[in-house]
């Protein structure tokens, strides 16, 4: 039906014209990533465990990708374990830690974590673990002192996200990690969900005192189905997946070679010009905020204005309007965004993250996230601002007074 009549050529033309500002949901694979993935699919299709030379080639590609990922966060390659993505990495860090302790203890996290963390903590709570979720300020920032105050002798894990996926607030993970280090050898483990900041912002696991760190490929122009967990040397984590002993016996299952090689390639692409890209996005973010505020003065920006926020995420509420309607009106103008977190937007529930900032339900229901990538241009931003102005005008009859 809808798509059957659309030829491939028409699709290509359409996608060239898109203003894609939903990069925190997923990114468009980089052309160099696609080339690397295709080479794996067409030629280097061996299994890294095979003894023949196709297997050897695959293993070399695997090692190379591991080095590239490790290089992004100042880790050793042997500390990188490939997973199916960010959700598995988060689950493994938390559930694997829980399993390592034999009896129920205590974990500390925040109220603005991703569902792959929050729902697992809920589950552990039902299993008898004590969970403390530390609140955030009006811009989504957690106070490292609040984390430290929540830690007890029973605390097995502290899990804090690096960049908040809906509003872009950066948590001071370095400060939290260093304070935890100060607790000495019996300190809790420190896990960082870095899916939204990885590759785009500098991360140094050694300097920060991080034990576990989650990453995902498709948020940085890799492909879906690949991610990694950094496990600091010396940290013993129980596996979740058992089998043929891949990934040093900690994550069995034949490696997702196209995904992993694409992940490595995406890291290489970012490592070449990260600072330049991110300073460009920081100026785009300013431009977007100014433009939207002048198109619609009642718009409310969530998260910090400039300092302590990831340059690629920008989240507004348009009080009185429904987020989903704005999204579709923008889509009709070829501008693609999301309402809050894409994972929760089908529920027609107010964004829990916006609610956690202490905002009203009306604001949490009318929120739109713009998220940029290395492909975003100044023209994209200007077209988005224009589309927002037009969309709000189109929807004005539907605005709740």
């Amino acid at each position: 039906m809808q798509s059957s009549g659309v030829s491939y050529v028409a699709r290509t033309a359409e996608s060239a014209n898109l203003v894609y500002l939903d990069n925190s949901s997923t990114t468009r694979p980089d052309p160099q990533v696609i080339r690397a993935v295709n080479t794996v699919l067409e030629h280097d299709f061996g299994n890294p465990s095979s003894l023949h030379r196709l297997g050897a080639k695959a293993e070399r590609l695997l090692d190379e990708s591991r080095e590239r990922v490790a290089g992004m966060i100042n880790a050793e390659p042997s500390e990188i374990y490939f997973t199916s993505g960010g959700t598995e990495a988060n689950n493994w860090a938390i559930a694997g830690t829980a399993a390592s302790f034999g009896k129920e203890r205590h974990m500390v996290s925040t109220t603005v974590e991703h569902p792959s963390v929050i729902s697992l903590l809920d589950h552990l709570h039902e299993e008898g673990w004590e969970i403390t979720l530390v609140g955030v300020d009006g811009e989504g920032r957690v106070d490292p002192q609040d984390i430290m105050d929540a830690v007890t002798e029973e605390t097995a894990l502290v899990s804090v996200m690096f960049v908040q996926n809906e509003i872009g607030t950066i948590q001071d993970c370095r400060e939290i990690g260093r304070r935890l280090l100060g607790l000495g050898p019996r300190r809790p483990r420190f896990h960082v969900d870095a899916v939204q900041g990885f590759a785009r912002l500098p991360i140094d696991v050694k300097d920060w005192g991080v034990d576990l760190l989650s990453m995902s490929a498709h948020k940085i122009h890799g492909i879906k189905g690949a991610g990694a967990l950094y496990i600091r040397k010396g940290v013993r984590l129980k596996p979740l997946v058992f089998g043929g002993g891949q990934e040093s016996g900690l994550r069995s299952g034949t490696e997702n070679m196209p995904g992993i090689v694409g992940f490595g390639e995406a890291c290489r692409v970012w490592s070449e010009d990260r600072e330049e890209v991110m300073s460009r996005l920081a100026s785009f973010r300013k431009r977007l905020i100014t433009g939207i505020k002048s198109a619609f003065p009642d718009a409310v920006l969530h998260g910090p204005l400039e300092e302590g926020v990831a340059p690629h995420i920008c989240h507004f509420s348009f009080p009185g309007f429904k987020g989903e309607s704005i999204l579709h009106a923008l889509e009709a103008r070829n501008v693609f965004v999301s309402t809050g977190s894409a994972c929760s937007s089908h529920k027609a529930k107010p964004s829990p993250v916006v609610m956690a900032l202490g905002r009203s339900e009306a604001e949490a229901l009318s929120s739109i996230r713009f998220s940029m990538s290395r492909n975003t241009t100044e023209e994209d931003i200007d077209r988005a601002i224009e589309a927002v102005a037009e969309s709000l005008k189109e929807l004005s009859a539907w605005r709740k007074k």
């Binding site: 809808q2 989903e324 009106a329 889509e331 027609a348």
Partner: protein, 390 residues
């Protein structure tokens, strides 16, 4: 011994002069179902249909069970009208019953014979006896239980041969599609309207589904949800089409020019006007809805009367007296319930004011829509309808 499918159709055979028409509609539907079985051959007898050359196709059985007008479908064995052959077929039927039912050693059976060929030398009780003794002496370990048997071996002696079967799949009954004319169903994507559609189809109505889509208030996914529901309903009527009307402009006009508390009433009246125009084009005789008495504020008798005012055709509500629980149970059986529960919003959830009027008065509603360019809006909406056929 031939294997075939035996189809029972009940009510149609009672319908006197219309019988031929009804049987024609049923045959056409079954032929459509059989289009993926080019070898299959359809044979018609009084009150029975036989499908040859499709042995043991379980998928086909369940598809036929969804054809309105079919009372039951049974895999059957056909033999000549000869007692020794019937005995052999009965033993074979018992073996099949044992394997398909997975019955244990304690299984019981009962023989049931029918004789529409009166010249057959044995009367029904005698034939039952023959069938019973054949199965009992076959070494299958079966015993007879006339009150509560594990399975029944049915023997039908007819002019064209004797048919023996041991199990049957219940069909949906009712009347063949088209035998009750054409109707429009307002399909929202909620739980109720697909069930109303099912009930209308069951009574032989050839339906045209009409969905009101409110882009950009809702998105592609809410349209896709309705498309998926429609595809489930097409199992009961493969020719049912889905008409998608772009409704946002009408709703926007209502929000701009009508008092808030009348919004929903006026919107439903506009839907009826669009449905009526579509019905004229498609020669449909009635408008079906999933409305239910008292379920939501707008579904009062007062509201229904005011809404119906613009329909110009009978508005039929198969679920009028259903409790929610009954509707949900039926939706689960039909297979639309889970789809209906997908969370994409339909236009109504955005549109409904805090205090809609529950007992509207016609003259006040007409007054409320006086600034609405009704004809223009309806014509534009009907002109923009997109129709899906597959």
């Amino acid at each position: 011994m031939e294997e075939l499918l035996l189809i029972k159709y009940g009510e149609i055979s009672l319908k006197g002069k219309n019988r031929h028409e009804f049987e024609g509609a049923l045959l056409e539907h079954i032929r459509w179902v059989l289009r993926e079985h080019p070898g299959a051959r359809l044979e018609k007898a009084y009150g029975r249909l036989y499908i040859h050359s499709v042995p043991g196709d379980v998928k086909l059985l369940s598809r036929l069970a969804k054809v309105p007008g079919i009372v039951a479908v049974a895999p059957a064995l056909r033999v000549e009208n000869d007692v020794s052959e019937i005995r052999l077929a009965a033993v074979e039927a018992a073996k099949r019953a044992l394997t398909t039912a997975g019955a244990s050693g304690k299984a019981t059976f009962k023989a049931e014979s029918r004789r529409s060929l009166k010249s057959f030398p044995l009367k029904s009780p005698e034939l039952n006896h023959q069938v019973g003794s054949a199965v009992l002496t076959a070494g299958l370990g079966l015993t007879v239980d006339v009150h509560n048997p594990t399975f029944i071996i049915t023997v039908e002696v007819r002019e064209t041969g004797t048919f023996v079967y041991w199990t049957e799949v219940k069909g949906m009954g009712g009347l063949p599609i088209g035998s009750s004319g054409r109707g429009i169903i307002l399909l929202s994507g909620g739980i109720d309207s697909p069930v109303a559609a099912y009930l209308a189809m069951k009574r032989g109505v050839a339906l045209e589904a009409l969905h009101f889509w409110s882009f950009p208030i809702t998105g592609e996914k809410s349209k896709d949800k309705v498309v998926r529901i429609w595809r489930v309903l097409r199992d009961f009527d493969p020719k049912m089409r889905l008409h998608i009307a772009h409704f946002t402009k009408i709703q926007t006009a209502i929000m701009e020019s009508c008092p808030e508390k009348y919004r929903v009433t006026v919107m439903r009246r506009m839907m009826m006007r669009v449905a009526r125009r579509l019905a004229e084009k498609l020669r449909a005789l009635a408008i079906f809805t999933g409305e239910n008495l008292g379920q939501v504020a707008s579904q009062t008798l007062e509201s229904m009367a005011v809404i119906e005012d613009t329909a110009g055709l009978p508005v039929l509500r198969p679920l009028l007296t259903y409790d929610k629980r009954e509707t949900v149970e039926l939706a689960e059986r039909i297979g639309t319930y889970e789809l209906s529960c997908l969370p994409y919003e339909d236009c109504c959830t955005v549109f409904v004011p805090k205090h809609p009027v529950t007992k509207p008065r016609l003259e006040l509603v007409r007054e409320a829509e006086k600034d609405l360019p009704v004809d223009e809006l309806v014509e534009e909406c009907v002109g923009g309808i997109e129709t899906l056929t597959h």
